[in-house]
């Protein structure tokens, strides 16, 4: 199975993953920047396909990170994934973006049986979720995703860029303190879950915050 995975919940990233490939990776890219998704994502995917010698016909499914993440960036990946899936006529799945880091934690030597993944939610908050690990299993999402202050997180080791920013308030795991969700891990996670017969999400974004719009109150009358 060949999956094109896209995630723009933090950085812009895409990957081609396949259970036939070594380490299941065909090709991948990720930017460091979190604000240029609209420019770099499409050219990145275009090069990725060319580099791997893959066309839309060869892709079996498209997977998109559905956040949480800053809204404008998040939407750029989801609309890209939806459009590619529509044109190529391929199935489209969503994966919660923090799962990407959780998978990397599970595969690292530094993992804990229970842990938090956190990313930057701006406005002095983090997006976070709690995971549990048992032997040779995929990480299990136990709680979340949520948005809130780092200081209010459960007292567990915290992985991801959200921990790095608030390392004074949480038990940040140094090795992961700048880690952002990326399409490569997201795609591998999707591949593993589909192989295990598990369900994935649809492509609806997980905004976690309202649009901030205020309904104007009645105008104050003079007098």
């Amino acid at each position: 199975m060949l999956i094109l995975a896209i995630d723009t919940s933090a950085v812009a990233s895409a990957a081609l993953v396949s259970d036939d490939a070594p380490e299941s990776v065909l090709a991948s890219f990720a930017t460091e920047d979190t604000r240029t998704h609209a420019e770099v994502l499409a050219p990145g995917i275009d090069e990725l396909l060319a580099e791997a010698g893959v066309s839309g016909r060869d892709v079996d499914a498209i997977v998109t990170g559905v956040g949480p993440g800053p809204f404008t960036g998040l939407r750029s990946g989801i609309v890209t994934a939806r459009t590619l899936a529509f044109v190529w006529g391929k199935p489209l799945y969503g994966v919660m973006s923090l799962d990407a880091i959780a998978l990397e934690v599970a595969e690292s030597t530094d993992s804990a049986a229970e842990f938090i993944v956190a990313t930057d939610a701006r406005r002095k908050e983090v997006y976070w979720a709690r995971y549990t690990l048992s032997d040779a299993q995929l990480p299990h999402l136990a709680d979340g995703p949520h948005v809130g202050f780092a200081a209010d997180l459960p007292d567990l080791p915290v992985y991801g860029a959200g921990a790095g920013i608030y390392s004074d308030a949480v038990k940040a795991v140094a090795e992961f303190s700048t880690r952002q969700p990326e399409a490569l891990s997201l795609g591998q996670f999707a591949l593993a879950r589909l192989a295990a017969g598990e369900q994935l999400l649809d492509s609806s974004p997980l905004y976690l915050r309202e649009s901030d719009a205020q309904v104007p109150g009645p105008r104050k009358r003079a007098l």
Binding site: T36, H37, A38, E39, V40, L41, A42, P43, I45, D46, L49, G56, F71, T72, R75, S76, G77, I78, V79, T80, A81, R82, T83, L84, F86, V87, W88, P205, Y207, S211, D212, A213, Q214, V215, P216, R219, R221, A222, L223
Partner: protein
């Protein structure tokens, strides 16, 4: 690529309309629009984040509907065009990313297009299919990219108020004047809220104004004092520009004065006086700009072109000044994908190179940039 009668798909997402239009040369095949306007009603204006969320969910269904209605497949398309600015940044981003994905998936060339110039480009579509041809519409036998000489465009909507001069629709557009604060449509929305008339304000005020006396209340015309106007030889700093924020404040003060005196607010008279002030200053400055720049053909575009008094007074003043006026059918005046496709087709026919897929949307794209 077919450069004589190109099949072009256009995508628009700069404000609250998700539009996909398809044209073949200057023939309109479909103009499919999904609007999030209803979701903005309770806020009394467009909320950018709500508009962006709606674009994300509306894009693929709108695209699918447009392809079905035009009865074409993506493989038949010669080029894709998308609004890359000006507009709401987050909203533009959705359409631009979708358009790029479409270009990647189909291998078709992509044009990044100026929204304002697209409002003018729509005037080059042949009129047909039941909509009465307005006076001044290009005759079908004229070459597809022929534009009248000495062409201008007056664009009035909730997002913009501009007077443009167009020497070439594909590479020579000049901004003669624009609003320095609120767009005219925005002023309508704000005043409608002050008067308790609901959203969108344009139609509500237009309707009520017919029953009011515009002369009962005096309201200011922004930027019309000599220090702003100057003379034709020595133009002031805002000779062809508009300002509507002072007018809105004047309406608010007027309402407060009636209330403070314990009198009933003459809502219809205020609506009529406000509408007259807006339309008077828009048309007088637009016609002045045309006269002083040798413009003899004007296209009226943007959603406020639906306003009955604006159409009437523009017609009157243009004809008095010997200027020929074109008003495209209303569904083509409001934001839509067909106008983006129409301008895209003009660029293809003129041999302009596509933009590629590396450009960034530009929320303040100047009219001098027709395509990125």
């Amino acid at each position: 690529m077919n450069r004589t009668q190109p099949l072009v798909l256009g995508i628009e997402s700069s404000c609250d309309e998700t539009g996909v239009g398809i044209v073949r040369g200057t023939a309109l095949l479909t103009n499919t629009v999904s609007s999030s306007m209803d979701e903005h009603v309770r806020f009394g204006g467009v909320i950018p984040e709500i508009a962006s969320r709606a674009h994300l969910d509306a894009f693929v269904p709108t695209l699918e509907e447009a392809l079905a209605e035009a009865d074409v497949s993506l493989t038949d398309i010669d080029a894709i065009a998308v609004t890359s600015g000006p507009g709401l940044a987050g909203a533009l981003m959705v359409g631009v990313c979708a358009a790029k994905a479409l270009a990647v998936a189909t291998g078709k060339p992509l044009y990044a297009i100026n929204h304002l110039v697209a409002h003018v480009g729509v005037g080059l579509l042949q009129q047909g299919g039941g909509t009465p041809a307005p006076s001044g519409a290009p005759a079908p036998q004229t070459p597809p990219h022929a534009l009248p000489e000495n062409m201008g465009a007056l664009l009035v909507s909730g997002g913009h108020t501009e007077i443009l001069r167009i020497r070439s629709i594909t590479d020579d557009v000049e901004l003669l004047g624009s609003t320095i604060d609120d767009a005219a449509g925005e002023a309508y929305d704000k005043v409608a809220r002050l008067l308790g008339l609901g959203y969108p304000g344009g139609p509500a005020i237009d309707k009520l104004a017919r029953t009011g006396n515009a002369k009962a209340i005096r309201l200011p015309r922004g930027l019309t004092q000599p220090k702003y106007m100057g003379t034709a030889e020595e133009p002031g700093p805002h000779r062809y520009d508009w300002s509507f924020s002072g007018l809105k404040t004047a309406v608010a003060r007027c309402v407060e004065q009636f209330e403070a005196r314990g009198e009933e607010v003459p809502v219809a008279d205020i609506a009529a006086a406000f509408q007259e002030a807006v339309v008077d200053v828009i048309t007088s400055k637009a016609v002045l700009a045309c006269r002083e720049n040798g413009i003899t053909e004007v296209l009226l575009g943007g959603g406020v072109a639906a306003n009955s008094r604006l159409r009437q007074l523009t017609e009157q003043r243009c004809s008095a000044a010997g200027i020929r006026l074109t008003v495209p059918p209303l569904p083509l005046c409001t934001d839509n994908g067909a106008m983006v496709a129409a301008l895209g087709a003009q660029l293809v026919m003129a041999g302009v190179e596509p933009s590629g897929i590396g450009f960034a949307p530009d929320s303040s794209m100047p009219v001098t940039t027709v395509s990125a």
